[in-house]
């Protein structure tokens, strides 16, 4: 007998992939609240996450508190039969009742006033509440390595943003690539920052929207510079697909509701260790670059 659990919700593409053909793969990596599976055919990574994690591209949410209880191990076989996703003989996940989720970004507003105010507010809030050590400077670096990392992140993000705001896309690509794989954590800070930044370029009607191919160009060059898990998120972000908490945050940046803004920003800041802060700063910087590129003082 294996454990049976329901999938609560899942990303639209992943769902299609599972329902469409005979999906096979293996477990790529396993954590307390998530595990990743790699598809045999495409090599793409998919994530199975517990209830407390938000929806994300290529991710299924399972009705459980944690995923470590099933002793899922790396290289466990994964296959689909009859709308059930099997992980070896350990776990059977019922896909049929899953609610479909799709990553949809709102369009860039025609009137930037609220956005401008909210972006400023968010930056202040992140300065107070965000976690240092990545894009946000650490007040007390643990060691010279950390200090150097912060310094390099700061220089490179600055160069990237300057070039982006001045429409020097080729230079921007170069600096963006130099961020990939830089920094502490499973998803290096540089990657998280780019994920946030990419998001803003995919908001329709945004001043930098026409340059969104920038993202894919960066990602293409970055493949060998970071690990599979982080690359997978970056790749999705480069086509405008990001996790639910980021989308909620973007949505609340467009309206006048401070409570929403605090809640949704806190959700983002809670991701990983410094990842959330890096993501949020990437987003804020991206929006600032958009506002600048649109000709408004920021």
């Amino acid at each position: 007998m294996s454990f049976v659990r329901n999938i609560l919700s899942g990303d639209v593409d992943f769902n299609k992939r599972l329902n469409g053909s005979n999906f096979t793969g293996f477990v790529h990596s396993a954590f307390k609240r998530t595990f990743n599976i790699q598809c045999f055919d495409s090599g793409e990574l998919y994530t199975i996450a517990c209830r407390s994690i938000d929806n994300a591209p290529n991710t299924l949410i399972v009705d459980t508190e944690n995923t470590s209880q099933w002793n899922i191990e790396v290289n466990d076989r994964v296959f689909v039969e009859d709308k059930i996703l099997y992980i070896s003989n350990k776990l059977a996940l019922n896909i049929s009742q899953a609610i479909t989720w799709e990553s949809l970004l709102p369009p860039y507003p025609s009137n930037e006033e609220i956005l401008l105010h909210n972006v400023r507010w968010a930056r202040e809030y992140i300065d107070c509440q965000g976690k240092g050590g990545g894009i946000k400077k650490c007040s007390k670096p643990l060691n010279p390595f950390e200090a150097e990392t912060c310094k390099m992140l700061e220089q490179r993000t600055k160069s990237l943003l300057n070039n982006l705001a001045m429409n020097r896309i080729d230079l921007a690509i170069k600096h963006a690539v130099s961020l990939v794989g830089l920094g502490p954590g499973l998803t290096p800070s540089g990657d998280d920052f780019l994920t946030g930044l990419f998001t803003t370029l995919h908001m329709e009607h945004s001043p930098l929207y026409e340059h969104r191919s920038f993202c894919e160009k960066v990602t293409k060059k970055a493949k060998s510079f970071t690990n599979d898990i982080s690359y997978s998120a970056l790749e999705q972000a480069s086509i405008g697909k990001v996790r639910e908490s980021i989308i909620s945050f973007v949505n609340s940046l467009l309206i006048e509701n401070e409570d929403d803004l605090i809640l949704s920003l806190n959700k983002v800041l809670d991701i990983g260790s410094s990842s959330g802060t890096d993501l949020a700063l990437g987003l804020v910087c991206g929006l600032e670059a958009n506002i600048k590129a649109g000709g408004k003082p920021c």
Partner: protein
């Protein structure tokens, strides 16, 4: 120094675990530096920059976990690696002892833990009274942090506690120190022989840190909740608190802190003081000196004065105390910097009693002092977003928190207002408190620093001097770094006041014109 590396191929740990591992690895004895990171090209570049690149690191792939240790000797490196390996293999489970048993009700927790003696209730006000009642029925003393509890419930709970001989601190009680343990929002202070009963949280925090600074210590600090001294409640907890301190062997001096009580309650309290054998110092913000001295108590007009009287009564040698007198030359200097238009004080406070004290200091010299906590409705702020002449705001008041955490935890609302006030050319001085201690923000000054620096620069460009007084309420024993907080203020050219009393008086004196 030796640099050694260990590569774990294709190993993924979530970021939170990596961070905590990294922090712990750097704390291992004998380790100069320890780094745990994914082996990306960029991370390798960083290691190269700081001289930590070994051939093994260079060969590592993007999916490999790199552990690099820098230490004096081979041996130290080896031990460090084995300790780091232990950290990796240590699982969460296996330590679930009895202490991890979960309880859902106060009764179950109390029945299974006979030593439990106090309940802290910090739930939505709609449910708080019920939980407090359960606690009292289980013979637990209660500290009720929740507010929005009806006054009927408060009276009933306090009567029940009184009958059972238990403490009923609150509702809306944020500060207490019992058995040298700070509860909710309180500062880490020395143990000593001065007992405090307080109907105001930050007022009692202020008195306790001043006593600590004068070299004295606190036996117990009992909070009563803000409504205890109202007519309806009748000071039940205040009276029981005084009695308990009177009976406490360790307490030599009693200090009472409150806003002015209802007159019937004041009578009861003063009658109680008359019966006390121990000296009692009374600081009722804006209280009546005559009545209080007639009762045989020691009257204090302000917080520092209350603390000073208490430590002297407790046996301190006055000649050895640094009373931190007002800096008169500084007052002269600031006055010359301010223009004639810069007339007004703007006090932005996270602590209610702190706001009250500063406001009362100003009211002694000015008759145009407005606030959201003014007792005279004529001087209440018409619009909470707009200041009028001299304005003092308690940001802990409900109308400013609006569902957000208290300003001692979440600085955002006050920060916004600060930026606004700093732009007003009629402002002579902005005075603010930064409260440290348990429960409070981990870096309250740091949260304001960028805004302060920017505001000062802005004012300078406009050709005016922006005077800011900052007061850090805390002790060197608090979980935050007290000295660092003050240094941050000084570095930003903020005038640091040594007490709330001084902060209030300095603010007032800075804007006095033509004296």
């Amino acid at each position: 120094m030796l640099v050694q590396a260990l590569i774990k191929p294709n190993t993924y740990f979530d970021s939170v675990s990596l961070m905590s591992l990294s922090t712990k690895a750097n704390q291992i004895d004998g380790v100069e530096q320890a780094i745990i990171a994914m082996g990306t090209e960029m991370n390798k570049e960083v290691m190269k920059n700081v001289g930590l690149l070994t051939p093994e690191v260079e060969a590592a792939g993007t999916s490999d976990l790199i552990i690099v240790v820098k230490a004096e000797t081979d041996e130290l490196c080896e031990t460090a690696f084995s300790k780091i390996n232990d950290l990796f293999t240590k699982k969460d489970s296996g330590k679930k002892g009895k202490s991890d048993v979960k309880y859902s009700t106060i009764s179950a927790a109390a029945e299974n833990n006979q030593d439990a003696n106090l309940a802290i209730i910090a739930v939505n006000g709609a449910y708080a009274a019920r939980e407090a009642r359960k606690a009292l029925e289980n013979d637990l003393h209660v500290m009720m942090f929740s507010d929005n509890v009806s006054i009927e419930d408060e009276i009933q709970l306090k009567n029940l506690a009184h009958e059972k001989g238990l403490l009923m601190m609150g509702p809306d009680c944020g500060t207490a120190i019992i058995g040298n343990t700070a509860l909710c929002f309180a500062n880490a202070v020395r143990k000593g022989n001065i007992g405090i009963v307080a109907a105001s949280g930050t007022g009692s925090q202020e008195v306790s840190v001043r006593i600590h600074e004068f070299g004295g210590g606190i036996s117990q600090l009992i909070g009563t909740g803000g409504r205890d001294m109202k007519e309806e409640v009748g000071g039940i907890m205040m009276l029981d608190g005084i009695q308990a301190l009177e009976d406490d062997e360790e307490t030599k001096v009693i200090v009472l802190v409150s806003k002015p009580p209802a007159s019937s309650v004041e009578e009861k309290v003063l009658a109680k003081i008359k019966l006390c054998k121990k000296p009692v110092v009374v600081w009722f913000v804006g209280g009546d000196e005559e009545k209080i001295t007639a009762a045989g108590a020691h009257f204090a007009k302000m917080s520092k004065e209350a603390a000073l009287k208490a430590v002297l009564l407790a046996g301190a040698d006055e000649s050895k105390l640094n009373k931190r007198a007002l800096n008169i030359p500084l007052i002269e200097e600031v006055r010359t910097k301010l223009t004639a238009e810069q007339k007004y004080i703007r006090g932005l406070f996270s602590g209610g009693t702190l706001a009250d004290e500063a406001m009362h200091a100003a009211m002694e010299k000015f008759d145009n002092v407005y606030s959201n906590i003014q007792r005279n409705p004529e001087f209440r702020l018409k619009d909470r977003y707009t200041s009028q002449e001299h304005t003092f705001i308690d940001f802990g008041d409900d109308e400013y928190t609006q569902g957000k955490p208290h300003p001692m935890i979440d600085p955002s609302t006050r920060l916004e207002r600060f930026i606004q006030e700093a732009k007003d050319p009629s402002v002579g001085v902005i005075v603010m408190d930064f409260v440290l201690g348990y429960g409070a923000h981990e870096d309250p000054v740091g949260a304001f620093l960028p805004a302060i620096i920017e505001a000062k620069q802005q004012a300078e460009q406009e050709g005016r001097h922006l005077e800011i007084i900052g007061y850090v309420l805390g002790t060197e024993l608090d979980p935050q770094d007290y000295d660092e907080q003050i240094n941050k203020l000084l570095a930003a050219d903020v005038t640091h006041a040594s007490s709330m009393q001084n902060a209030g008086l300095l603010a007032r004196e800075f804007v006095v014109k033509g004296e």
